[in-house]
Symmetry: C2
Subunit: 686 residues, 2 copies
């Protein structure tokens, strides 16, 4: 049994490229005047320039890969081909390029690059090397296994296209997660908050332990029949459980959007996927932190277990608090300058990530909650142009990062040099993932249905079971550390799980929807008309939710945004002066207009904008028409107000339907309803 | 005379931070099972985590600096305070933080980080170190001077806030330059193309040599009186001349926009500033490439000179061709999917940079011409939403990069450790910069006025002289290499030149404008009415410009965009079938509408959108109204058509003025002219 502590994946393209920039300039910049070294310098300069060019060319390959993906996506969308999502496509292209790089191209590497070995007694981060009187600074890149030392020369090409795993976690993942938080459909999300939290927290932990236990059984079996090539501890199994429990919101939901699937199912799946990413990342870091004292680091110990649990709670709540705090702090008043506003918004989101990392929390989790808070409060303070700009900016960043991750996933299947594909482990993992998902969805749905008025029907449950794809987060967590045998086996298996779920489950979503007889093409207008006439909206008004909702609506919103009722109306009479100075002047104007923004939804272009009239309407007719609707807002604290508010978009639609017969006001007349609806349809298609 | 080949500036925050990510994960990922090393590992892990946190905190400082800048900019704009531009402000904040970092904070650095020295005989790019049986990989970071070796320990803090100079050149500069190219005001730019090219090419070269010669005289003087602490060759003087000849378009033009200064002056200054950046960067690299054969590398040699000239021409034209080619290639047909379109556009721009670098050309120059080509052709093919999105995206990137560079400039005045401030050199440099600018503007203007119908008046010349600020490009070129004494002196002096010009010239622009009696607040409507009635537009219709213009309009535009006349109308009759298959179907429709896009201008928000009616109008009234104007387009090749076209926006405005009395069509009625103009005014203010 050999420990192949190899870190070829530590070498990476970007830093390598950039460090070569540095190298190149460092070499250019010491034009030693001594005549004997001048010639030598020119040679090294040439070499550095050469490798800079090579690196630019390598990066160009990635960009062309992305370009190709975009063009093919366009073709697919154009032809309404739904069996393969863009992420699946990106993976296929990545696979192809990986095959080419692995088998077709063989670049003879420059032997001069890597030659020296010197014996010292420690491995500091920075090393000073004395070369015949001159000092050179070196930085540590990572450990290399003995077997790799000779190998390094051959793999120059593969090493170059291998990114640092931390790039995924610290650069590519944050925009994806932030965008997910920023684009949560808020009305349906809050309606189903209880269920979503249950699935995300309880469900993910259950799934993690079920998978961990099953995999431990599998590993035991492998050890019995001698199929195991290295150590594999129970903590490793749990770690595997935690990383494959993170489901990906991207693929299925894109199809859901296109087909206009039931909004509650959408909210359940999206909310669960987004939140369980956060749970999984904190869970996995708590599992890593499990370190019992004493000699054997892999025995069970209650104290260490408790400590891990404490870390989970601490890191999660810390990241949560930080994200929410930064989201709330971004209270912009820069409405007149959209560029400044957008820049500020972007910088605040990024600083959330850095702040969380600096405090020792998890940046990704903080960014998620920051996005949600900003969508809930800050978004309402932004000028309409900034709302559009921030939405589009994060959409673009998300799109690029996502496609990059998925195509890189395909690439690593061939370029990663330390794959450990173990058939028994793979079969066991697929089974465990399936059972883990089942143990998450079905029992929880049963329990939740006991409390829900609007039950989660069996076909919804089957759909949620089927739609548990694994994606970017699972990949980023598993590639983060591939040093030990156990981790390498996990990484290889995880790749296969991701491929399978994205291609098979992602591709089969349309079939599954029709098979489960789930309504597609739901005309959300009609659904809303129904709810106005008294059917739904009360489905999940649990008491804690109502309390929070009222608190949010009456105190937080007026305090943090320009919308909602003025604080003077909601504060007790004794706090009048305080309330008056805290309320923004705009809130008084808004009181008349009922411009509450609970239906201001931040949606993807591909989302069903039709349902949520507020943004559209206020853009179209400058809000004047809404003044004819003095409902609600008197009984601020009552449940009725909440219901009315949740159904706000619905009222809106009714009014919009009847407004055409009203006498026109002198402002710009609205577009005919048909043409407007047509425009929305077009947007939905894109 | 000692050679202080120091490279403390090579160390950098980002790569250091990221390499520490790598380091951290590398250390986390080799949990050597041997019990004796477990403890050691945990300690190193802790250390790595600690420094990761520290790095996040450092980066956070930069982000907060930017945030502070944005908030202050907002305050200034809000209060209409014009004496200090945002870039000047960013520099001041940078200076303050630099002072604090230098004098107030002293972080005792971890002595364990940098300890080892081992004697080897070469300095390879990658070093393998054998530490008691384990191999570690190290990468070369740069050379360190003997005197710096002990110093390294103390400067940990300053080293951390010092970025790699190549970051500026390869990451921060490209978006700025691209944005400049993408937002050139095209109509006035093309009208003044000849003059702009003369200023940019002839002027920059003249300025470079004048400054170089003056500085050589200054250096000779210093050598005589013993004030020179190191070598300073004539090539160094020329290099200095080339880097300080690059003028910055940002600061003055922002003020020009706000005050609505004469559009021709604007076009001259902006065009010159943008293009001379490109000239300066290629010029400086050609000067570095000047390497005479033989022993003394600093004698004059005709062959080497010719070779440098050849490099200049080769690199410039290569970068130009590449940029234009990629710009033309981006021929999108993805109009229905703005997100895909924007992503594609962004990736193509980036790949231009990489492609140019991979081919050995200058990426920055390629990106500039790519931006200009995309603005001229590709922009017309984009969907309206993508036009908006790309504009906003690059505007944001430009804004962030620019403010970052300027605040970093302020920072380096205190954190850079190898400043060489030589009073004589500094005085000489200021004088040389002044005279170099004068030798560029006045003689050239005189010569150009001989050929121009619409003369460049003396007060315009004085204004151009005054507005020659130095900015981001000068800084990036000078910080790129600070290894020798000469380069360090240049860098320090350049910093002062930039500070002076940005604060004094930038801040005094308003005063200078009123002092030179240059019309501000030009109502571009009125100006256009005048030109319609026959006054201007012919001012610079040199024959080569007319030929190119006609070729572009009749063949390139129809071929590459959906606008312009169909090729069937412009090709000779014999090429009919070919023309038919090359013309896009939309071009035929457009023929009726006269939807030529020479007045489709890509402007900053702060630009004077009023002049260029096309975008606005086609958005407002869906183009239907323009069909009542069947002028031109029959005599396609005549000069009259060209003039009419250049004045297209003007016709447009006349028609817009009269359209209000026409019977309304059944589409959405246009806003009243007053309210529309009011809206524009608001945009212009922002």
């Amino acid at each position: 049994l050999t420990h192949t502590n190899s870190v070829p994946d530590r070498s990476n393209l970007i830093w390598r490229r950039l460090s070569l920039f540095v190298l190149a300039s460092a070499l250019c910049s010491c034009p030693c005047r001594a005549e004997d070294s001048a010639m030598e310098n020119i040679v090294t300069e040439k070499k550095a320039e050469e490798s800079h060019r090579q690196d630019s060319a390598d990066l160009l390959v990635f960009i062309l890969l992305l370009t190709l993906t975009i063009l093919t996506i366009w073709l697919f969308k154009h032809r309404r081909f739904r069996f393969l999502h863009e992420t699946g496509l990106a993976m296929i292209y990545g696979l192809l390029v990986g095959v080419v790089l692995r088998y077709a191209i063989h670049v003879p590497s420059d032997m001069n690059n890597i030659t020296l070995s010197c014996n010292v007694n420690a491995s500091p981060a920075t090393l000073l090397v004395n070369v015949s009187g001159k000092f050179y600074e070196y930085t540590l890149k990572g450990e290399i296994s003995g077997s790799e030392v000779n190998d390094i020369q051959d793999n120059e090409m593969l090493r170059k296209v291998t990114f640092d795993p931390e790039v995924f976690f610290n650069i590519l993942l944050p925009p994806i997660i932030f965008h997910a938080g920023y684009s949560l459909k808020r009305r349906h999300f809050f309606r189903n908050l209880g269920s979503i939290l249950a699935y995300a927290f309880v469900g993910t932990v259950v799934s993690c332990f079920i998978i961990g236990l099953l995999m431990y059984g599998c590993v035991m079996l492998m050890k019995q029949i001698g199929h195991l090539g290295g150590d594999f501890f129970f903590t490793d199994c749990l770690f595997f459980g935690s990383i494959v429990s993170a489901t990906d919101p991207v693929t299925v939901l894109a199809i859901f959007n296109e087909l206009q699937v039931d909004a509650d199912l959408y909210a359940l799946l999206f909310g669960e996927s987004v939140l369980n990413d956060a749970v999984a990342v904190v869970l996995s870091s708590s599992i890593i932190a499990y370190q019992p004292e004493g000699d054997n680091t892999h025995t069970f110990e209650a104290m260490a277990m408790l400590k891990s649990f404490g870390i989970f709670l601490g890191v999660f709540s810390g990241s949560f608090a930080l994200g929410v705090a930064t989201g709330v702090v971004t209270f912009t008043k820069l409405r007149d300058f959209p560029l400044l506003e957008t820049a500020l918004f972007f910088l605040m989101s990024w600083s959330t990530f850095l702040l969380a990392e600096a405090c020792g929390f998890t940046g990704v989790v903080a960014v998620l909650f920051c996005g949600m808070t900003q969508a809930h409060y800050t978004f309402n303070n932004l000028s309409p142009e900034s709302q559009e700009r921030t939405k589009q900016l994060f959409e673009l960043l998300n799109f690029l990062a996502e496609n990059f991750i998925f195509s890189y996933m395909g690439l690593t299947l061939f370029t990663f040099k330390n794959h450990v594909f173990n058939p028994i482990f793979i079969v066991g993992a697929f089974l465990a993932v399936f059972l883990g998902r089942a143990a998450n969805i079905y029992p929880l749905s049963f329990l939740l249905n006991l409390g829900r008025k609007h039950k989660i029907s069996p076909n919804f449950q089957h759909m949620m079971m089927f739609a548990g794809l694994r994606g970017a987060m699972t990949f980023a967590l598993s590639i983060r550390d591939t040093a030990t045998y156990a981790r390498q086996m996990m990484f290889s298996t995880t790749l296969l799980v991701v491929f399978f779920t994205v291609w098979i489950c992602g591709g089969g979503t349309t079939q599954m929807l029709s098979c489960q007889k789930i309504r597609v093409g739901v005309d959300t207008d009609q659904e809303n008309f129904v709810s106005v006439f008294g059917l739904s909206t009360k489905q999940e008004s649990a008491w804690f939710f109502r309390i929070w909702y009222n608190f949010d609506h009456n105190y937080l919103k007026p305090l943090l945004t320009h919308s909602g009722p003025p604080l003077t109306a909601t504060f007790p009479a004794c706090c009048g002066p305080l309330a008056r100075c805290l309320t923004s002047p705009q809130a008084y104007e808004n009181e008349e207009q009922l411009k509450d923004s609970d239906s201001d939804l931040i949606l993807n272009d591909s989302d069903i904008t039709l349902t949520y009239g507020d943004i559209t309407v206020s853009t179209d007719a400058t809000g004047a028409h809404t003044s004819g609707m003095p409902v609600g807002r008197v009984a601020v604290n009552s449940d009725e107000a909440l219901d009315r508010e949740l159904a706000f978009g619905d009222h809106e639609l009714v009014i919009r339907g009847t407004r055409l017969v009203l006498p026109m006001d002198d402002s710009e007349p609205p577009l005919p309803l048909d043409s407007r609806r047509h425009r929305h349809k077009n947007e939905t298609m894109s």
